[in-house]
């Protein structure tokens, strides 16, 4: 986009001396240098991006004033941010650090088309379908014996269904009922033959069912297992870029769809194809002309089925969305029933429900009406083919021409009826075949995704950790547009306690994430005992650090299991000690089932403070060299907090403790404090020192003190 907000193509080029803006909009395009603007780098102080609602403004600071360079679509947003940071580095003379990353490719290297989603480097045009299916086939290859049996059984079944009409019509009329035939009058033989065919069919159907159900459960299990282990390997960044709930659903849905493709879709596809070919060949052998007549309408029918399926799928999808909307509304209203009642909104909500319900009814009606009218129409068309066979075939049989007999005629009629089921199947297969392919692709992507945070190949050995922690000029951002951590430096000696203070969203928890390498710093170093955390093995690093975070999570299981999670070798005494230290023992003993109380999703609901105490116990059991308490006591009342704090203080003697808290009183005993403001270290020092400084910390402290005075508590 250009300066006036008109769409155009443009290129921005930054050299050591000049910033060039080139575009194809306006001006005399033939003139040399038309649409080129140049700005000497020395005259500009900084570049910046202002994000609007769906576009952004790219501007420069020049002599303290803002100078609009251009408007841009969001498509260019990331590139602009990169340019801004490169410009900054250029200004500071750090030209070597300017990233020339080729990683961030946005276009498919094969066809040059843009990736639809830059997080997924996947081009739908160049996807090698065969490869995807072959790779997926690998999952099923393990069960090749069973798969072979399934296909064999299905082949027998379809062979049976193909030859049955021969015996029930051709053989019956032309042989058994024909005085000239060797089989004349052997009706009992025919009946026995048909019965035995029926029984064989029954037998194989049952065998098929048993094998399929046995193998299918295994394959789904296998697949989910593979995906899950792939997921666990990925770094946090992968999960924040996608919503976890969506991810879980996707995996579940994809795995099922793929399973379905291979156990139901693919075998049936093969069987149907073979059956269709066999029927056509048999019919052609007996009477090519009549075959042509009978199947002449197939292309038309196929086309019609295709259209109708599309429309019906559309209607079904609408019905599905409407019903989903209704369900969402219902669960919304029931969950919020207390709010509905307190604001006495029952009547309006009832109306809202009635409206959604009516819409669903309408969608249901439309969809049922469609299937009730459209498919009988197609069936009539199919029937027309049958009538043609009856008419012409009958005429041929009477004339005795083309070797037509009554038996062949009835056989034809049966076969024509059998042709259309596979056809319906093929039309339907096209659509969900591509859906399944998409699912496979997504799963492979998860499996192939590289963890952003990689473990060092030759980790630095670290048998015993002292516990020195240091941040050196650390920078980090989750998204390009906002630095969450900006040149943060601080250090804490082994065995000391560091308090981190700052408002919500200042970046405190991010610091912790960087220390345990849930994420990696973009710039700068995070060190433990003077070693960059990137050089340590995950096992060493995480064995020595325990975090109690704001969001406590209890797994489904007993309280005992949940505490033991940190250290499976812990004895019962150790667990009880840990629980006591965390102030959890007393409330646990108040529960009727004590340590055996089931907690977690769907079980006993503990309060926020109780959960926090369990997770503190969990962390203490680990006996880490570095203990991080991220708002670990925020959900407790002040008294309980004080008590736990005292225990923690005692425990913190030979371990490094990093405490993050809102309540400054929690941090008063810390050896040093760091105040984080907007991702930067605003000030640091001891409690007394910072108070004397009368800066940010002093302000916060006064505020909290005042608040306490107001409610009649004095520190």
């Amino acid at each position: 986009m250009d300066k006036n907000g008109q769409f155009c193509r443009g290129t921005i080029l930054l050299t050591g001396q000049t910033l060039y803006l080139m575009s194809d909009s306006g001006g005399d395009a033939t003139a040399p240098e038309a649409g080129v603007e140049r700005y000497p780098v020395d005259t500009l102080e900084a570049l910046a991006v202002d994000e609007l609602i769906s576009t952004c403004r790219f501007y420069a600071q020049k002599e303290g004033e803002r100078l609009l360079l251009t408007y841009a679509t969001f498509y260019a947003k990331e590139d602009l941010y990169r340019l801004v940071s490169s410009f900054e580095k250029l200004k500071e003379g750090r030209t070597k650090e300017i990233a020339t990353d080729k990683e961030n490719r946005r276009f498919c290297p094969i066809c040059g088309r843009r990736y639809p989603d830059r997080e997924r480097k996947f081009c739908p045009h160049c996807m090698d379908r065969g490869k995807v299916i072959r790779r997926m086939g690998g999952f099923f290859f393990k069960y090749k014996a069973q798969m072979a049996v399934i296909i064999l059984v299905m082949a027998v079944l379809s062979a049976l269904s193909v030859i049955t009409p021969y015996f029930t019509s051709k053989f019956l009329y032309d042989e058994v009922l024909n005085q000239e035939s060797a089989f004349y009058g052997r009706i009992l033989f025919l009946v026995l033959l048909i019965v035995s065919m029926r029984l064989t069919r029954l037998f194989f159907t049952i065998v098929n069912g048993i094998i399929t159900s046995r193998i299918s459960a295994k394959i789904v299990y296998d697949m989910k297992q593979t995906i899950f282990s792939a997921i666990e390997r990925l770094s946090m960044g992968y999960f924040t870029a996608r919503t976890t709930g969506g991810l879980m659903n996707q995996i579940y849905y994809d795995a099922n769809r793929i399973y379905w493709f291979f156990t139901d879709g693919f075998p049936y596809f093969v069987i149907n194809l073979v059956q269709l070919l066999a029927i056509t060949v048999i019919m052609l052998l007996y009477n090519p002309l009549l075959t042509l007549l009978a199947l002449g309408l197939t292309p038309l029918v196929l086309w019609l089925i295709g259209r109708l399926f599309r429309k019906s799928r559309r209607l079904n999808r609408r019905r599905y969305t409407r019903s989903r909307a209704l369900n969402a509304l219902l669960s919304d209203l029931l969950t919020g029933i207390r709010v509905v009642k307190t604001f006495s909104r029952e009547k309006t909500e009832a109306k809202r429900f009635a409206k959604a319900s009516r819409e669903l009814a309408l969608a249901n009606k439309n969809s049922s009406k469609f299937s009730a009218t459209a498919f009988p129409l197609v069936n009539t068309l199919v029937y027309l083919g049958l009538i043609l066979v009856w008419g012409f075939g009958g005429w041929m049989a009477i004339k005795g021409s083309f070797g037509m007999t009554y038996g062949i005629l009835t056989m034809f009629v049966s076969y024509v009826g059998m042709v259309y089921d596979p056809l319906y199947f093929f039309v339907d297969m096209v659509e969900w075949g591509s859906d399944s392919l998409n699912s496979m692709n997504r799963l492979f992507e998860i499996m192939d995704a590289q963890a952003d945070v990689k473990e060092a190949e030759h980790p630095h050995p670290l048998p015993k950790l002292r516990g020195d922690v240091a941040f050196e000029n650390v920078e980090f951002s989750y998204t390009k547009s906002r630095k969450v951590i900006d040149k943060v430096s601080f250090s804490v000696g082994a065995g000391k306690t560091l308090g981190i203070v700052g408002e919500t969203g200042a970046g405190k928890s991010t610091l912790v994430n960087l220390l345990v390498r849930l994420y990696d710093a973009d710039e700068g170093r995070v060190t433990v005992d003077g070693i960059d955390v990137k050089e340590l093995s995950f096992a060493d690093l995480r064995r020595n650090i325990a975090i109690v975070s704001q969001e406590t999570y209890l797994f489904v299981g007993t309280i005992y299991d949940n505490i033991r999670y940190a250290n499976h070798d812990a004895t019962k005494e150790e667990i009880i000690e840990a629980a006591k230290a965390a102030g959890a023992h007393d409330f646990i003993m108040k529960l009727p089932d004590a340590y055996s109380t089931m907690v977690g999703f769907g079980h006993k609901d503990l309060s926020g403070g109780e959960k926090q105490r369990i997770s503190i116990a969990r962390a203490l059991l680990r006996d880490p060299k570095i203990l991080i308490l991220d708002e670990a006591t925020a959900a407790m009342d002040t008294q309980t907090e004080r008590r736990i704090q005292a225990t923690l203080d005692a425990l913190s003697k030979d371990r490094t403790t990093i405490m993050i808290a809102h309540r400054l009183s929690t941090l008063r005993n810390a050896d040093s404090l760091v105040v984080i403001h907007n991702g930067k270290v605003a000030e640091s020092g001891t409690h007394a020192g910072l108070l004397a400084q009368k800066g940010e910390y002093y302000k916060l402290y006064q505020l909290q003190l005042d608040a306490l005075k107001n409610v009649g508590v004095t520190e």
Partner: protein, 172 residues
């Protein structure tokens, strides 16, 4: 009423008496005037609609670069001399191409690819998770957000030509 909300919270409303806007380069800047008639230049400001889908020219929040609210414009017509300036800025900020015709809309592997005619020319874009990226508003208005976060608007889906409408019917 004692203790009513308006006594506890103050929303600063800007009008001709206490504020004025001016053009600063290609940006918009604010000057405020206190009760004593003293004026302060607040520099370049941001304008954001409070109800972007319902009110185009009313309830405009005036923010600093760090998104701190300085005050609220009840309606842009409260500043008759500056109305054009304000409108121009808002149009820039909320720039959204309006779709008048859909040439093609194909859904493939979880993405949909659009080719459309808009009031600023023919453009193509990709949408991820089509169903959730289309916001249906009253009176047939539809807002579509593409993979980059760019937005496009269909002012009234019912008034699109039949061929165009058919392509998106499923998502309405």
């Amino acid at each position: 009423m004692a203790g009513s909300l308006d006594q506890v919270v103050t929303v600063v409303y800007f009008d001709k008496t206490n504020a004025d806007f001016y053009k600063k380069g290609d940006f918009i800047a604010l000057v405020t005037r206190d009760a004593a008639g003293q004026t302060t230049d607040r520099g370049i400001v941001r304008l954001r609609r409070m109800f972007p889908f319902e009110e185009l020219w009313e309830n405009i929040s005036v923010l600093t670069k760090d998104n701190e609210e300085l005050g609220v414009i009840r309606r842009v017509s409260d500043f008759p001399e500056r109305e054009d300036l304000l409108r121009e800025e808002l149009i820039r900020v909320y720039f959204t191409p309006k779709i008048s015709k859909i040439y093609s809309m194909k859904e493939k592997y979880g993405f949909s690819h659009w080719e459309v005619e808009t009031d600023v020319g023919r453009i193509g874009f990709s949408v991820k998770d089509t169903f959730r990226s289309m916001l249906n508003l009253p009176e047939g208005r539809v807002i579509i957000t593409d993979v980059d976060g760019g937005r496009y608007e269909i002012p009234d889906a019912a008034r699109l030509d039949k061929a165009s409408r058919k392509k998106i019917e499923l998502y309405l």
